[in-house]
């Protein structure tokens, strides 16, 4: 396997700088490694406080019902029980998006899925709280259950929510970038394919847990396993009607998140309320089953791709339709809907593009953002369809992709500005390392290889609520002992964000990362960072840290330069010293430099912040998808399929990732291998499946197996050999050129598996998970002379709205829709909802200009 090297080219003289880097680009022990490997990391559930009480939630046993009455007198009388809360105690609606304020911490009168919380018991022991749940009597009126999007389309009433487009349709969008119909008539071939992507969940090892206390001065502190302490802070202020300044949220290190801890959750609000009422610490640690009910995982998506191509493979136009199973609440769903259509154009050149998406409510745990948020499902469809196109046109799938791959410094049909694009290099790397040319269509029956690519954003270009403030801020404190402390709202969820901040500051100030102290994820101690989602922390908190560190360096350099009589430009910060680069023995230690600067200028503290560049996508809905820059990946998967049983084995995977620059290559490789692992789970086995009981009996709709044993996710034994390559061309927008790696490398895995299965046994599995029984069924179809395929064959009729017409840049478009008379106009229901939730007034999702 070739070793990655610093690339030859680059912008802004970063190459000469690269030769000089001492921390950045070196694989090193992450700053929180010692705590992790010695078991000393303090997760939320490790927090035990004097006089602490325990909370359990009573959850709805019905998928859809009205609450007529709740009688908790028996529970309250149970020995050891201190408090019982119901929806009346915390009635204010909240939600992660300003347009979807549709959750209540405890359901007031309407339960929407099995597992929706209706009451909370706070008791001395967790066991007592659990036992008391059975003493609460709830009288339910059962409502019709909506179990999937087709049913939701066909059943406008009863409504799961009283907002949204109409009936049980939450969100419907249609965006047309040029006249695709005309381009289809000009194409040599038009391909139409339908795919289904099953829902799945994050499965972090750590279950969500929270501990809340009322501080001695009457304020609230909550420790919680959350990826987004800032958004939780806002939700708590709203629901508890407290000034934000009286609330402190501390995000404890997350034992994995993957998007599953990015919403404000009912249990967080409940323990906060209980702690305030009881003036005692209150803790909750969810069971694994309850984590399945929090969900916010991958949306099940049915999709239809219609793609026109020229004989040489060039795409002339694409129409993508997605039908999305949202589950019982909004969550990030409006953003997820747009994301299913956002990145098709960012990967390959699509000159005309029409995206139609529809998200429905159903009586299941709410879907939301899981690693690759909304882009994973259509990436699967697009990459499998490209494989079919390549075969039909007799073009090697790698060559086809090289031909149509997007290039650096372009603006896409939907007005996303691309910075560095190294997709082609990624393809060339995996083609070479996997010996693609000797394997594709050449391996014996039962063995095959498949290739797929992807793109992903390096941080969402817009915040979740409309504001003009920075997305991330860093404060730096230098003390006279030479200590450097970083304060930042960024949240360590295992991805290594603390290490990224320490690495950047250490590089700029010539220190070692292990000498730096960090206070992160604490709303009292650090400036706001929006959270660990959308692969935004490295670029945003990283750039903020870079700015703060450079400002600190300037202060020190001023003082040292004056003392040594050496011009500032000649001063170098390295090896914990500040010295004359022309005469390295002339200089002083870093602590001496700090003392000098503090004597000269007073106490030293600096700040840095980051706001993403403005996006040219000015149309309504253009707020989802823009990013400072995008990462790219390509993967080759090798499979072995037993034609008698359909059993699949994956011995090897090659993957190349366009990282810009690897700040800590060990962490980058870890993220890539972790993505491969998660991708294989989605490709082969993971399913958020529900079971409908017989109608004449109970007709309940329950999660089929909310447990880590029966919800199948691969084990370490199921992991193939992974050959990882990093493609490094520093991106001018990333700190030291870095782009994201947390999500992008997941995306090519699932379609590459599907394409490899086709190469191995000649059947198309047009849905995930790809299981042995589906392969056997497709093989039976093949033997019977029918289409050798397993997958959905129809896309139901959706009443699509009139598209917003946005001419692409090459057709004179300026980023605005030409038929949007009033870009700020909203439907009456949206207006009502926003009026009701005055705290958060405008949404980037709907009005992004």
């Amino acid at each position: 396997m070739p070793e990655e090297k610093n690339p030859p080219s680059s912008s802004k003289g970063q190459t000469s700088e690269a030769d000089d880097l001492r921390v950045i680009g070196k694989s090193r022990r992450r700053v929180d490694a010692r705590a992790k490997v010695t078991g000393q990391t303090r997760y939320a559930d490790d927090i035990v406080l004097p006089r602490m009480l325990h909370c359990k939630l009573l959850r709805s046993p019905h998928p859809h019902a009205r609450i007529r009455k709740i009688d908790f007198s028996r529970a309250l009388a149970h020995p050891g029980v201190h408090l019982v809360l119901t929806g009346k105690d915390v009635p204010i609606a909240y939600g992660i998006l300003p347009v979807s304020q549709d959750e209540q911490a405890l359901c007031v009168d309407h339960v929407r899925h099995v597992g929706d919380p209706v009451a909370a018991v706070i008791a001395r022991e967790e066991l007592t709280a659990f036992e008391a749940l059975d003493l609460i009597d709830v009288d339910y009126e059962i409502l019709t259950t909506i179990s999937n999007p087709e049913q939701a389309l066909a059943t406008p009433s009863p409504r799961i929510h009283d907002y949204g487009e109409e009936g049980n349709i939450h969100k419907r969008v249609s965006l047309a970038f040029g006249d695709v119909e005309q381009s289809f008539t000009e194409a040599d071939h038009v391909f139409e394919d339908t795919f289904f992507y099953q829902g799945n969940t994050h499965l972090p090892i750590e279950q969500h847990a929270s501990v809340a206390i009322k501080d001695p001065d009457g304020k609230l502190t909550i420790w919680s396993s959350t990826q987004t302490p800032h958004y939780l802070h806002r939700a708590l202020a709203k629901v508890l009607r407290m000034p934000p300044a009286h609330i402190r949220v501390i995000a404890t290190p997350n034992g994995g998140g993957f998007g599953g801890k990015s919403d404000p959750f009912n249990h967080e609000i409940v323990v906060a309320k209980a702690a305030l009422l009881l003036d005692r610490p209150v803790k909750i640690c969810l069971t694994r089953e309850e984590v399945f009910y929090c969900h916010r995982g991958r949306h099940p998506v049915l999709m239809k791709f219609k793609t026109g191509v020229k004989k040489d493979g060039t795409i002339t136009a694409m129409n993508l339709q997605t039908l999305i199973d949202g589950g019982a609440y909004g969550s990030y769903g409006v953003a997820s809907t747009f994301y299913t259509g956002a990145l098709q154009t960012v990967t390959y050149h699509v000159p005309r593009y029409h995206f139609q998406g529809c998200r429905t409510f159903t009586n299941k745990p709410p879907c939301g953002p899981k690693r690759g948020h909304g882009t994973v499902q259509p990436r699967f469809g697009q990459e499998v369809q490209l494989d079919k196109i390549a075969e039909k046109l007799s073009i090697d799938p790698a060559d086809l992709r090289l031909k149509i791959a997007e290039s650096s410094n372009t603006v896409t049909a939907n007005f996303f500005r691309l910075s560095t694009v190294n997709l082609s290099e990624c393809i060339r790397r995996v083609v070479k390392s996997s010996e693609w040319g000797n394997k594709f269509r050449k391996l014996p029956e039962g063995r095959g290889v498949g290739l797929a690519c992807s793109a992903y954003l390096t941080g969402a270009g817009l915040p979740i609520y409309w504001n003009k403030m920075p997305h991330s801020g860093v404060q730096l404190k230098l003390d006279r002992g030479g200590g450097v402390t970083i304060f930042c709202g960024a949240t360590e969820i295992g991805q290594g964000s603390d290490d990224v901040l320490a690495g950047i500051v250490a590089e700029v100030l010539g220190l070692d990362t292990l000498d730096i102290r960090l206070f992160t994820g604490d709303t009292d101690l650090g400036p706001v960072d929006l959270g660990s989602y959308s692969s935004r922390v490295t670029i945003m908190a990283g750039n903020a840290a870079l700015q703060a560190a450079e400002r600190a360096r300037t202060i020190l350099a001023d003082a040292v330069s004056e003392r040594l009589g050496v011009p500032k430009e000649r001063l170098k910060f390295a090896n914990k010293r500040v010295f004359d680069s022309a005469a390295p023995e002339t200089g002083m230690t870093f602590p001496e430099a700090v003392v000098l600067a503090e004597s000269r200028f007073g106490t030293i503290g600096t700040v840095g912040c980051y706001t993403p560049p403005k996006s040219p996508a000015l149309y309504k809905g253009g707020g989802v998808g823009p990013s400072p820059t995008y990462s790219y990946s390509a993967a080759v998967v090798e499979v072995e399929v037993n034609p008698a049983t359909g059993w699949i084995t994956i011995p090897r995977i090659w993957i190349a990732h366009d990282i810009g620059r690897a700040l800590n290559p060990a962490l980058v490789r870890g993220q890539i291998e972790g993505s491969v692992y998660m991708g294989l789970g989605e490709a082969l086995m993971e399913e958020q499946e529900f079971r409908r009981l017989p109608k004449r009996l109970s007709h309940a709709l329950v999660h089929k197996f909310p447990s880590m044993l029966e919800y199948k996710s691969p084990t370490s034994l199921d992991m193939p050999q992974v050959f990882t390559e990093l493609v490094e061309e520093p991106d001018p927008r990333g700190p030291f050129g870095a782009k994201e790696v947390g999500q992008g490398p997941l995306l090519p895995i699932m379609p590459a598996v599907a394409n490899a299965v086709y190469d191995a046994v000649g059947v198309r599995i047009d849905e995930v998970p790809i299981t042995p029984e589906k392969i056997l069924k497709a093989l039976a179809e093949k033997r019977a002379g029918r289409a050798p395929r397993y997958g959905p064959d129809r896309f139901p009729a959706v009443h699509w709205p009139e598209p917003l017409r946005v001419p692409p840049p090459w057709e004179g478009g300026d980023g605005n829709a030409i038929n949007d008379v009033s870009p700020r106009q909203k439907s009456p229901s949206e207006r009502e909802r926003e009026a009701a939730t005055r705290l958060h007034t405008r949404s980037e999702v709907l009005s992004s200009s």
């Binding site: 659990f130 069971t287 089953e289 079971r691 199948k712 084990t715």
Partner: protein, 349 residues
């Protein structure tokens, strides 16, 4: 997190003391061996014994006696069995089965007796209290409907023990001891076709020992279907044992299909078919088809039930081919996800 219900804990030092406690406490007492299945079940309130009787301090239960025949104490851990080379020749199927139970950590705790008495499993039953409440419970616990077969008067939960099919193929017997006396029965007779009353063991009896007669000249093997290389219970298993003459003719054979019903099933017709025949391709195919006939999996485990049924013959064929002496390393590795190594119980026949 889920908490255990409260219970009394007893830790006898002898079998006699243990059986006395069982006799005194009645069915509300349960023996606790490794606890890897019982304790999680208690957290889910599938079993709520008033008294737990730890078997950990009864030395006699971990004794092994190996002459021509073998006597294995019920509290040997599965790791003891999987790692002990003494068992690999005579009791190959058993060591292969033990090595494929759950995970290394669980095998370090779980016992042979515990695995033989393992509670039957079902996707409607192996759920926590609230989940079962939301479907109004099931026939096996607190309810009156078998959700997997709503018309069935009987619980259809699935026997999910790995070691039982292996030991049944080896013709094992078990010793059951109570305060009133003791009895020795064929292992096959420990089980009955009812997912609720799946054992013939009386609540006052302790399974103390597994006995396997002289298996000199026999070959045996165990094949397990599960989704992943670790953790999972079997959702189809095949154990086969045969004594084969030097000329390659089957003299005696036993084939057991596990994890497709409430007890392991002896494929008697299939085994009988082999007698007097050489294990050639046609014989294996015909025998596999016969054996697969008795497998009638239902929709209450992992994997599609019709697919489980469809691949049963294939698994029987793997087992018979291995008995014949074929190199099945590749098939084994693709199912177990284990890299072949000389230290594995799968490398020796």
């Amino acid at each position: 997190m889920m908490r255990l219900p409260l219970f009394q804990f007893r830790a006898p030092r002898t079998i006699e003391e243990a059986t006395r406690i069982l006799a005194g406490e009645g069915p509300s007492a349960m023996p606790l061996a490794g606890g890897t299945d019982l304790l999680p079940n208690m957290k889910r309130r599938q079993q709520v014994p008033k008294t737990l009787l730890s078997l950990r301090h009864i030395e006699e239960l971990t004794r092994v006696r190996m002459n021509a025949a073998s006597r294995l104490g019920a509290c040997l851990t599965l790791a003891d069995i999987a790692c002990d080379r003494r068992f690999r020749n005579g009791l190959t199927a058993l060591t292969q089965a033990a090595a494929q139970v759950a995970t290394p950590h669980i095998r370090n705790m779980a016992t042979l007796g515990g695995n033989l008495c393992l509670d039957t499993r079902c996707n409607y039953y192996d759920q926590n209290y609230e989940w079962r409440k939301s479907i109004n419970f099931c026939l096996k616990k607190d309810g009156d409907t078998c959700w997997v077969a709503p018309g069935s008067p009987k619980c259809m939960a699935v026997s999910s023990t790995d070691t039982a099919p292996a030991l049944m193929a080896l013709g094992a017997r078990v010793r059951l001891v109570s305060a009133a006396g003791e009895r020795e029965i064929p292992l096959a007779d420990l089980y009955q076709p009812d997912g609720f009353h799946y054992l013939t063991r009386r609540p006052d009896e302790l399974l103390t020992e597994v006995l396997v007669g002289n298996r000199y000249g026999w070959r045996s093997t165990y094949w397990k279907l599960r989704r992943r290389g670790s953790f999972d219970f079997p959702v189809l298993s095949v154990a086969a044992a045969a004594s084969i003459s030097v000329s390659g003719i089957v003299e005696e054979a036993r084939i057991v299909i596990g994890s497709t019903a409430s007890r392991p099933l002896l494929a008697a017709d299939a085994a009988k078919f082999l007698i007097g025949r050489a294990l050639d391709q046609d014989t294996i195919a015909a025998c596999a088809a016969l054996a697969a006939k008795i497998a009638k999996p239902l929709d209450n485990t992992d994997f599609d039930m019709s697919w489980r049924k469809k691949v049963t013959a294939e698994f029987v064929a793997y087992a018979l081919r291995e008995l014949r002496g074929d190199n099945v390393t590749a098939e084994r590795a693709s199912l177990t996800r284990l890299t072949p190594s000389s230290d594995s119980p799968f490398s020796i026949l």
